[in-house]
């Protein structure tokens, strides 16, 4: 038995945030029914190419899908594993009725449209509770459900949350620009939604009651820097970007390694005097390491720029992995700043079995990384490739809602299922 196998979950919404939340739970066995529009394709479905990689005409939402264009992509596949995708036109009253029939038999629904859009369709929380009194209903948006004024118009893309949420300002070199992020922030917002859903599920397990969850993605990013608000609150000044620096530890940086043009670096962090002497021993106790200025933690911190240059004289003669082996052997926290290709070739991760491959009927073998939530009794499982456009129409409308083949064909004809 899987941890969430008694759960039916409806997913309304595209891109990454909502779908990632659904993925986190689908991997533990939740039955996630993904409602898609064939009229306005999910942005992550718009491959822009044919199966052979040929170019196609630009896809315009609302227009027919260009001849031969793939509607499956590696990103869509990854984010929509284990799900059951259907197409449903919520712009028709019959489409809305079908959505209502699905809500009536579901435990959880998550929607990521603009706040208010679901209410206008008659699919808001109040409507949903009439169909399923104990439903857990999540409304996720850029700045929150009940927002008013100009800010309520905020668009919901990950790089914007990072900027608005404060993480961008805190990432990067002190004298450089703030750091942009692409996609990571959407993923994390999705993970937070899945934790909130579980909290509500645990409450429902105990009391039988559902509830409404209002999730704000920009607040999600601020949640990841919660302690950074303490400085303005307590001492009336803003924290600043610190690169790799730490408030008390030094050395605490990345150092260039022998790289033959490959841009390789090792991160080294030293927290105690014992680690410092272990480090000095491991690199052969060079003359400079006996310099009194580096004798204690405050001294090392004060003189860290100079120290960094001296350390790099040693690291530059070693590959990142060699440096890791030597320093870890001495009990020093030293780990390469791994590039993605290094990770896919890493013996530790391979032995841990984090990589998987799922076969996709159109895209072929798709390499993936498994969920980091390793539960011993109910581990996460990848059971099927990312759902294809309308792949489960027959199953959901036929088996689940009990419509006849004839009725389904009729709905397709009328553009309700499309």
């Amino acid at each position: 038995m899987e941890a969430l196998s008694n759960l039916r979950y409806l997913e309304f919404g595209e891109m990454i945030v909502g779908p990632w939340a659904g993925l986190m739970l689908a991997l533990f066995g939740a039955e996630v029914i993904k409602i898609e529009s064939g009229f306005r394709l999910d942005m992550t479905r718009r491959a822009g190419v044919t199966a052979e990689g040929g170019r196609v005409a630009a896809y315009i939402p609302g227009q027919p899908i260009p001849e031969g264009m793939l509607t499956d992509t590696p990103v869509f596949n990854w984010v929509n594993l284990n799900k059951k995708g259907i197409t449903l036109n919520l712009g028709t009253s019959e489409g809305v009725e079908l959505a209502k029939r699905l809500i009536a038999i579901s435990d959880v629904m998550v929607e990521t449209y603009r706040p208010g859009a679901m209410d206008r369709l008659g699919l808001g929380y109040t409507d949903a509770t009439k169909l399923k009194p104990d439903i857990i209903y999540v409304s996720s948006s850029a700045v929150g459900y009940n927002s008013t004024g100009l800010e309520a118009k905020q668009l919901g893309y990950g790089p914007l949350f990072r900027a608005l949420g404060g993480l961008g300002y805190l990432t990067g070199y002190p004298d450089g620009p703030p750091g942009e992020g692409l996609g990571r922030d959407d993923v994390l917002a999705g993970t937070m939604i899945s934790t909130a859903v579980l909290m509500a599920l645990i409450y429902k397990q105990k009391t039988g009651q559902g509830q409404f969850i209002d999730f704000s993605a920009r607040e999600g990013i601020s949640f990841l820097i919660g302690d950074s608000f303490m400085e303005p609150v307590l001492n009336n000044r803003d924290p600043v970007r610190q690169g790799n620096r730490d408030e008390v530890m030094a050395p605490h940086n990345c150092y260039r390694c022998l790289d033959e043009g490959m841009d390789r670096w090792i991160s080294i962090a030293i927290g105690t005097d014992d680690e410092w002497s272990a480090f000095c021993n491991a690199i052969g106790n060079p003359e400079w390491s006996k310099d009194g200025r580096f004798g204690d933690a405050p001294g090392r911190w004060q003189n860290q720029e100079e120290l960094d240059k001296l350390i790099e004289v040693w690291t530059i003669d070693h590959s990142d992995r060699e440096a890791m082996e030597i320093l870890q052997g001495a009990g020093v926290a030293a780990v390469p700043s791994f590039s993605i290709d290094e990770l896919w070739g890493d013996p530790h991760l391979a032995q841990r079995g984090i990589f998987d491959v799922v076969d996709h009927p159109v895209l072929g073998a798709q390499p993936l990384i498994k969920s980091p939530c390793r539960l011993s009794v109910t581990p996460p499982n990848i059971k099927s490739h990312g759902t294809m456009l309308g792949q489960y129409n027959e199953w959901v409308y036929g088996e689940l809602l009990g419509l006849s083949r004839r009725e389904i064909e009729d709905l397709v004809e009328k553009g309700v299922v499309y």
Partner: protein, 401 residues
């Protein structure tokens, strides 16, 4: 007040950020979290700033304060024989242990999952370590800096940098550790839900490296698709991205043509946007440097606020890089209750962030501020475990509590 996780008891054997954030996610929603700290020094976070009024003191750390709201706190050195016995007794009353010791440390003290589960089959234990409980790096040492760099996220940060000779850097502050705490909470909540139906516990093995690398989704994909290794030296959104303005920077994205159309409108369709090449997404990329220069010229005469307000009106995907201090001023966040005020005995009234999920029946609430070192020793040892005050004093004398 009704809480989502009321009645769930969690024992925290963690320090600094990742583990404490995992249990904070639960304590803030009503779980009873008992934090176990070492008797002499307590959580390492107590020796981290910012300190209230810049006065370094273990009860004035902003980091500790934020990460330990709604928890009870006791001191216990479970590395001593006596302490380990006490912990074993204590565990019986708890549903979950969250711990961040290096692999094997608890087992050596006969406090590993495999031992505890014998007398407590429903126990959920979440172990958080840099590289997980198995594999060749399991015993490697890693601080938060090393963990973020172990994941691939450091290597691509700061994205699009022009400083080719500088090292990759971490995510800001402790963001990586918060991410780990979030995945740890997710895993623990899944196990709690399963336990609710089956009464069964389990062991959860969280590797920080794995929790951090999964979110590098858009760096893994170019590699798995076409073998491309993303580097911080490649601009991701070359013609827009991070744009300097009068009083800081804004982020501007233009994934598709429609995005560009709106940027153009916001700029008032200047002359240069009418040149032949600008209207094609691919051509704009080819002329990225030129597009950027024009954008920067336009933005440099405007403030973050002006640019953002214009963007909101026109539906442009542009937002300012806000500082924590600026975020604290947001009327919208205040009205949504994202910030709240908590009174701390040493620090006075302190504003702090709540949570991004607002649950209608069981909202975020603060029942108690972060515990003083050993604040709940008497309550837990005497009232719950039945020690008398003399025994307590004796244990304190031995340095056990």
């Amino acid at each position: 007040m009704e809480t989502a996780l009321g009645g769930i008891r969690v024992l925290e054997l963690c320090s600094m950020v990742a583990g404490p954030f995992c249990t904070k996610i639960m304590s803030d929603m009503g779980a009873e979290v008992l934090k176990v700290e070492s008797p002499e020094t307590g959580d390492e976070a107590r020796r981290r700033g910012p300190y209230a009024g810049d006065v370094p003191h273990p009860e004035r750390s902003g980091l500790y304060f934020y990460l330990n709201t709604n928890k009870l706190g006791i001191t216990l050195d479970y590395r001593t024989a006596e302490g380990s016995k006490i912990l074993k007794e204590l565990v019986k009353g708890y549903d979950v242990i969250v711990e961040d010791n290096p692999p094997g440390v608890l087992s050596d003290l006969s406090l590993g999952y495999e031992t505890l589960v014998e007398s407590h089959p429903a126990l959920i234990m979440t172990s958080i370590t840099p590289f997980g409980q198995t594999g060749p790096y399991r015993d490697y040492k890693a601080y938060p800096l090393n963990c973020i760099h172990s994941s691939g996220e450091g290597y691509v940060t700061p994205s699009g940098t022009l400083f080719r000779d500088r090292p990759p850097v971490k995510l800001g502050k402790f963001a990586g550790e918060y991410e780990v705490g979030t995945y740890s909470a997710l895993a623990t909540l899944v196990a709690l839900y399963y336990k609710g139906f089956t009464g069964m516990g389990q062991h959860i093995d969280i590797s920080k490296q794995e929790a951090l690398t999964i979110s590098c989704l858009f760096d893994h994909l170019p590699y798995t698709m076409v073998g491309m290794t993303v580097s911080r030296l490649m601009p991701r959104v070359p013609e827009t991205g991070v744009v300097p303005c009068k009083d800081g920077h804004v982020m501007c994205v233009s994934f598709e043509q429609t995005f560009w159309e709106r940027i153009k409108q916001l700029m008032g369709e200047p002359e240069w946007t009418r040149e032949g090449w600008y209207d094609d997404q691919d051509k704009r990329r080819e002329h990225a440097a030129e597009v950027r220069k024009r954008l920067e010229e336009w933005a440099s005469a405007r403030t973050k606020k002006e640019l953002h307000e214009g963007a909101l009106e026109e539906g442009v995907a542009l937002s300012p890089f806000l500082t924590p201090g600026e975020i604290l001023q947001s009327e919208l966040l205040k009205s949504r209750g994202f910030f709240t005020e908590i009174t701390h005995p040493q620090m006075g009234k302190v504003t702090c962030a709540t949570a991004p999920y607002h649950l209608s029946r069981t909202p975020w609430r603060c029942e108690r501020t972060a515990p003083m070192l050993g604040e709940h020793n008497e309550e837990i040892y005497c009232r719950r475990l039945g020690y008398d005050k003399q025994e307590l004093a004796k244990l304190a004398g031995l340095g056990v509590i």
